[in-house]
Structure formats: structure tokens, C-alpha cells
């Protein structure tokens, strides 16, 4: 029915040519990216090149993640005996071939960590020798967060790449030989089924190290889900944009509103699912109000509000309200625009996962340097000793559990504001307050920005104390740094550069095989796919 009812022969060109015009366009984008990255590097010495390293890491992870999600797309739909996606399955099959490039890109980050390049100490605190000596948590977690395990994440991508090559080859072989129609489909089915559980665990292993470990004092058990759904939605959005592009060139003419509708449902549904995970992670941390957990949101509320709220606006509120209607999911223009917006939104999501943590590592290091400079007399020593004493008391009380170590660490970390207000002899009250300092200032901040309410009303002097801490904090001052607190032009240039690289690889592989997998057992089901009818 639907579009094909009138029995007009469909003119579909299954041969995609990666012509010179497209090559020049993608290479120009890559050049733009290289220039942007180079500029961020050469202008970034003031902040130890963290802008460069975070941009490299963010884009490498984001686009490798999209390639991973494309393979995941092929695998899940094959395992579920899905048929509707068959006419455009060559697109995810080409997108997933970006993974070997991902090994090189993340290999660059790894090389930076290994050679101890300027800035990588702040990118990954666990690679900082100072932190490995003094930072209890980094020491505690060094069994997992170390260069050897980081190298293993590259092996993980290599493993995914192996699956990608295998599945793609089995699929393209079908084109030439109709006898492989069922045999190869069953093989793809088997390899997909093997890949999925491996993908589930290994993606978590990788994302913890690539992204979550930039905040090595923090952890969230929901993080891997949240970060993976982010690239999954992005992959679907990019897939749809590529389909629209290929349709304008006379390809994929069997792709109808019915397929658009299904992809629209994915964008809508997984945007909501992403929000569900985002909010679950936020609410549990907000509710428990443990210093070692709230530091993650504290930082974002205090210095990164722009990115933080834009993230929710683009990735939830706008797609939720727009794509709620059936007709919006089927409208090429609306879904195309939403796909572009959500793709950018999740790039921004990765931005706000990475930048604040690295900025914090850098800023904290500056504080320490500063403090060390100020107190080169006996007082400093005294203070240090006092510190030690506190930690011992605290740890004795808590039976030396890892959590006590965590809390103690937080006291140290944000105590900077606190110490100035507490006299050295009131040791006991000091210990009490260190545990709360963090949340108090968080509450005060919330009050200012009307985010989520203000915690800490139960501890009698909590509010006043928070105010003092905040004022003290203000003296230090948080200057807005372009490219750190909000993406600047160089960030956008870098993103376009990586997008160009991604498209270059995708187009190369698209041109290597027929866009129409004509011997796939599900091809006819996909050509005549219909779920709804236009009135």
C-alpha cells in the first residue's frame, strides 16, 4: 500500500560514488578540524593545553562511540530478526568501519598519557605522579585506572572492529552470490549474538576509563548506560541524516515514510530513555547527598550551568515536545532538523561529561601551587600535621573503610574555602564541618540559580556557613574561559573536522558495496515495510 500502491517502478540507484566534490568537502572539513586542534594547542599553554586534550578526547570518544553504536544497531536488529532496516543497513555497516580510526585517535590520547605530555596529568589524574603519591583515591583506584588498562580499551575497540569486519564481509558477500542468502544471514546472526554481550560489558569497561576517569574521585554505576545511550541516539540521528543525503542523490528510493516513522520513534524513545538515565543518576546523587558524589554536580551547577541546562533542553525538552506527535515523526523536515539538533546535543553531552572534570583537576592543582607558595613558613607544616590528625580521627571512627577515605579526601579537597574560616584550635568542629562543606556550598549555589532547591537546612548553622564558604569562594573567582565553560568556535571546528573524517570513512565504505543488499532474506519485507498510513 502506501507509497507503492500505484505500481510505478521505483528508480533506485544502488551504486554510491564517492565523487571528487564530496571528497573535497570532507577533506576541507578534516582540514578545518586539524587547524582548530592546532590552534587550541598553540593558544592553550595558559591552561596547560587541557582544552586541546579534552577536545581530542571528547571527539575521539564521541565518534568512535557512534561507530560502536552502528555496529550495535546492526547486531541488535539481526538478533531480533528485524527486517525493516534492511534497505538502509549498508549505512550503519559503513559507519561502523570508523572504529579502526578510533583506535588511532584514542591511541593519540594514550600516547599523550604515556609520554606524560603537558596537560595529560589533568586529563587523567590517575596518570599524574603527584596524585599517585598523595591522592588516596587515585592510589586506591590505581589497580583499575592505569595505563595498562587504558591500553586494553584500545584492544577492546580492535575486538569490536573484528566483529565489524566479519559482519560487513558476510553481508557484502551475499550481493555477489545468491546461494549465500541464508547461510551468511545465519552467520551474521551468530556473530551478532556473540557480539552483544561482549559489547555490553566491554563498552562499560572502555567508557569508564575514557570518560568517567577524568573525575577519578567520583563514580556512578549508571554512567556506562547513560554514556552509551547518548552515542546510540547520535548514531541513529547521523544515520537518518545520511539517508536524507543519499535520497537526494537518487539512492534509497525504497526508503519511505514508514521507515522514517520507525527512526523517528527511535529518536523520540531513546531521547526519553537518555533523560530517564540522566535523571536517575542525578536524583540518586542529589538525594543521598554524599560529598564524594555531589562534587560532580556541584561543579556543573557552579561553573557550567550554560552547558548543563542546554544539554537538557536540546536532548530532552525539545525532542520530547516536538516528536511526541505521530505526524512529526513522519515528517522528513521535522525529523531531519531534530536529528541534527539531537546529534549536536549529544556531542554537547560528551562535552559536559569531560570538560568540567578536567578543568577541576587543573584548577585544583593551581590552588595547591598557590597555597604552597603562600605558606612557606612553619605554619604550613603545622597545618599539614593537623590535617593528618583529622584524617586519622575520622578514619578511626569509620573503621578505616574506603568510604571514610573518600570523605576525608573531600574534606581536603574543598577544605580550601573552609580552612580560612575555622580557627586551628577548634579541631573537632572542623571535622564536622568538612563533611558538609561541599553540600552547603552546593545548596547556596542552587539557591542562586534556582536549580533544584537548597540542601543543608538540617544542620543548624549550615546555611550561614555555606554563605561564608561561597563568599570565600568568590574571592578566588571563576573567570569564564571560552572553550572550557562553553564550546567556542574552535570546539565547533574540531567537531566538524571529526565529522568530516567520519563521513570520509563512511562514504569510502558506502562506495565499496551496493547500497541495496539485494540478496538479504529480509529485503522484500523492508521494501514493503508499512506501519501506518497517511490520511
Amino acid at each position: 500500500m502506501g507509497a507503492h500502491h500505484h505500481n510505478q517502478p521505483i528508480q533506485d540507484n544502488p551504486k554510491f560514488v564517492f565523487d571528487n566534490k564530496l571528497k573535497v568537502f570532507t577533506i576541507a572539513l578534516i582540514a578545518l578540524g586539524i587547524i582548530s586542534l592546532a590552534l587550541t594547542y598553540f593558544t592553550g599553554s595558559e591552561h596547560a593545553h587541557i582544552r586541546f586534550w579534552t577536545n581530542l578526547l571528547q571527539n575521539a570518544v564521541f565518534f568512535t562511540g557512534i561507530a560502536f553504536a552502528s555496529l550495535f544497531f546492526v547486531a541488535t536488529h539481526t538478533v531480533a530478526w528485524g527486517g525493516w532496516q534492511t534497505i538502509f543497513k549498508r549505512i550503519p555497516e559503513a559507519m561502523m568501519m570508523f572504529m579502526p580510526v578510533g583506535i588511532i585517535l584514542l591511541g593519540l590520547v594514550y600516547a599523550g598519557v604515556l609520554t606524560d605530555a603537558t596537560g595529560t596529568d589533568f586529563l587523567y589524574l590517575w596518570s599524574d605522579e603527584e596524585a599517585l603519591k598523595n591522592d588516596k583515591l587515585v592510589i586506591h583506584k590505581s589497580a583499575f585506572l592505569n595505563p595498562m588498562n587504558y591500553l586494553l580499551t584500545l584492544v577492546v575497540i580492535a575486538l569490536w572492529t573484528g566483529f565489524a569486519y566479519m559482519i560487513r564481509r558476510l553481508s557484502t558477500q551475499q550481493d555477489a552470490d545468491r546461494k549465500l542468502r541464508v547461510v551468511n544471514y545465519e552467520k551474521i546472526h551468530m556473530w551478532s549474538a556473540i557480539f552483544l554481550p561482549i559489547a555490553g560489558f566491554s563498552s562499560a569497561f572502555a567508557i569508564w576509563q575514557w570518560v568517567m576517569s577524568v573525575d577519578p574521585h567520583w563514580y556512578s554505576t549508571l554512567f556506562a548506560w547513560y554514556a552509551t545511550v547518548s552515542v546510540w541516539v547520535s548514531a541513529i540521528c547521523l544515520m537518518y541524516l545520511l539517508i536524507l543525503f543519499l535520497k537526494t542523490r537518487g539512492h534509497l528510493q525504497y526508503f519511505t515514510k514508514e521507515h522514517t516513522h520507525d527512526l523517528g520513534k527511535y529518536v523520540f524513545g531513546f531521547s526519553v530513555f537518555w533523560t530517564y538515565l540522566w535523571f536517575s543518576q542525578f536524583m540518586l546523587i542529589w538525594y543521598a547527598n554524599n560529598g564524594e558524589e555531589t562534587q560532580y554536580y556541584f561543579l556543573r551547577f557552579e561553573q557550567f550551568q550554560g552547558v548543563f541546562y542546554l544539554n537538557i533542553l536540546i536532548n530532552f525538552i525539545i525532542p520530547f515536545l516536538t516528536l511526541m506527535m505521530n505526524s512529526a515523526k513522519r515528517a522528513t523536515g521535522t525529523l531531519g532538523f531534530m536529528a541534527g539538533l539531537v546529534l549536536f546535543g549529544h556531542w554537547l553531552d560528551y562535552y559536559q561529561m569531560i570538560k568540567p572534570g578536567v578543568w577541576y583537576n587543573w584548577e585544583h592543582a593551581q590552588h595547591e601551587k598557590h597555597e604552597g607558595h603562600d605558606k612557606h613558613d612553619g605554619k604550613h607544616e603545622e597545618k599539614k600535621e593537623e590535617h593528618k590528625e583529622h584524617s586519622d580521627v575520622y578514619r578511626l571512627n569509620e573503621n578505616n573503610s574506603p568510604k571514610a577515605v573518600l570523605t576525608d579526601y573531600q574534606g581536603d579537597k574543598h577544605g580550601v574555602k573552609d580552612h580560612t574560616n575555622v580557627s586551628p584550635d577548634s579541631a573537632h568542629s572542623h571535622i564536622d564541618s568538612t563533611a558538609h562543606t561541599h553540600t552547603d556550598s552546593l545548596s547556596h549555589d542552587n539557591h542562586d540559580h534556582g536549580a533544584t532547591g537548597h540542601e543543608g537546612h538540617d544542620h543548624g548553622d549550615g546555611h550561614d556557613h555555606g554563605k561564608e564558604a561561597h563568599d570565600a569562594h568568590k574571592d578566588h573567582g571563576h573567570a569564564f574561559v571560552m572553550g572550557i565553560h562553553f564550546p567556542g568556535l574552535l570546539e565547533l571546528g574540531t567537531m566538524l573536522g571529526f565529522l568530516g573524517l567520519f563521513l570520509f570513512v563512511t562514504f569510502t565504505f558506502l562506495s565499496k558495496a551496493s547500497l541495496m543488499p539485494k540478496n538479504d532474506p529480509y529485503i522484500d519485507e523492508s521494501k514493503h515495510h508499512h506501519v501506518w498510513y497517511d490520511l
Partner: protein, 176 residues
């Protein structure tokens, strides 16, 4: 049992594709179909029958919005005005903790509201028994029905011929 005081001529078809073609042909010849009954939702039947898009989902959105406002407003009133309680060291108005209940209540209101609306519109409900044409319509037959109340024998026979022409498996007349 409720009665509709109608005389209905109906034809039973064996497959939904045959039914869709039949409905299309009958309507193209300018005949008014009273109703079509199928054992399951047939994709594409609504536009072929010339039915407008259902407004049920708009009602659903309104019910959902009502649920959102009610839940969030009620919790805000309770925890800030009526009976302020500090729990977990949070302020009285702590929006994040209202979100799960607001979400649940939105879904509940939208779902229950739509079911009730659907029942009212279709005249269904506990204790109401509606007349039926043929029990097999709930199993494996697809039915096209004409309202032939007060129509002449010739007119009825013309419609019956049309049903047979469009491959109806059998045709019957029934007073309901």
C-alpha cells in the same frame, strides 16, 4: 441487551486484504458503509473508510498534562503549605524528589483517562451489552455492514450483489 433499531445487511470476508479492496471498491461506487468490524486492527482501514484521525491522543495529552499539574501542584502544596516536613535534609520545596511521582501520575492519568474516554465514545462499559452481527467477527471474519433500515428490497439486493461481487464469503440481514 441494548437495541439499535436497525436493519443491517452485512458481508463476511476471509482476509483483510480482500476486505480493504472491497471497502475501496464499494466506496468508489458511492455507497455509504455503516461500519466495518474486524477481529484485529487492520492497518490502512481508516483512510480507506474515509475516517478522520482519532482525537483520542489529544485527549490523552490533556489528561497527561492534568496529571502532571495535579501531582506536582499537590505535592508542592502539601510540603510547603499544608504539612511542611523536612526529609533527608532537603528543603520543603524539593522539585527533584517530586519528579518520579509526577511522572507516574502523568502516565496513570493519561492511560486511565484514555480508556474511560474510549469506553464512553464507543458505548462500552460494565453492564452494557451491545448487539452483535456475528460472533465469528471476533475470531477470523472481516465484516462490512450497511444500514438498510427502511430501504426497498431492490436497494438491499443491489448492495448484496455488490458484497458478492467484492468476494464476500457470505451475506446476511439482521435486525439489531
Amino acid at each position: 441487551m441494548r437495541t439499535l433499531n436497525k436493519t443491517v445487511l452485512y458481508g463476511l470476508y476471509l482476509d483483510e486484504e480482500i476486505l480493504l479492496d472491497a471497502v475501496r471498491e464499494i466506496r468508489e461506487e458511492g455507497n455509504e458503509i455503516w461500519d466495518v468490524f474486524t477481529p484485529f486492527p487492520v492497518h490502512g482501514l481508516d483512510p480507506v473508510l474515509g475516517l478522520k484521525e482519532s482525537r483520542l491522543h489529544i485527549a490523552g495529552f490533556v489528561y497527561g498534562l492534568f496529571g502532571t499539574c495535579t501531582a506536582f501542584g499537590f505535592m508542592t502544596w502539601v510540603f510547603t503549605r499544608d504539612w511542611p516536613i523536612i526529609f533527608g535534609g532537603k528543603p520543603y520545596f524539593s522539585a527533584p524528589s517530586f519528579v518520579p511521582i509526577t511522572f507516574e501520575f502523568t502516565v496513570l492519568m493519561a492511560a486511565v483517562g484514555m480508556v474511560i474516554t474510549f469506553y464512553l465514545v464507543c458505548g462500552l462499559g460494565p453492564g452494557i451489552t451491545n448487539p452483535y452481527l456475528d460472533p465469528r467477527i471476533t475470531d477470523d471474519r472481516f465484516c462490512i455492514a450497511f444500514d438498510v433500515t427502511g430501504k426497498s428490497k431492490d436497494e438491499v439486493e443491489a448492495l448484496r450483489a455488490l458484497l458478492n461481487k467484492t468476494s464476500a464469503d457470505e451475506t446476511n440481514i439482521k435486525d439489531i
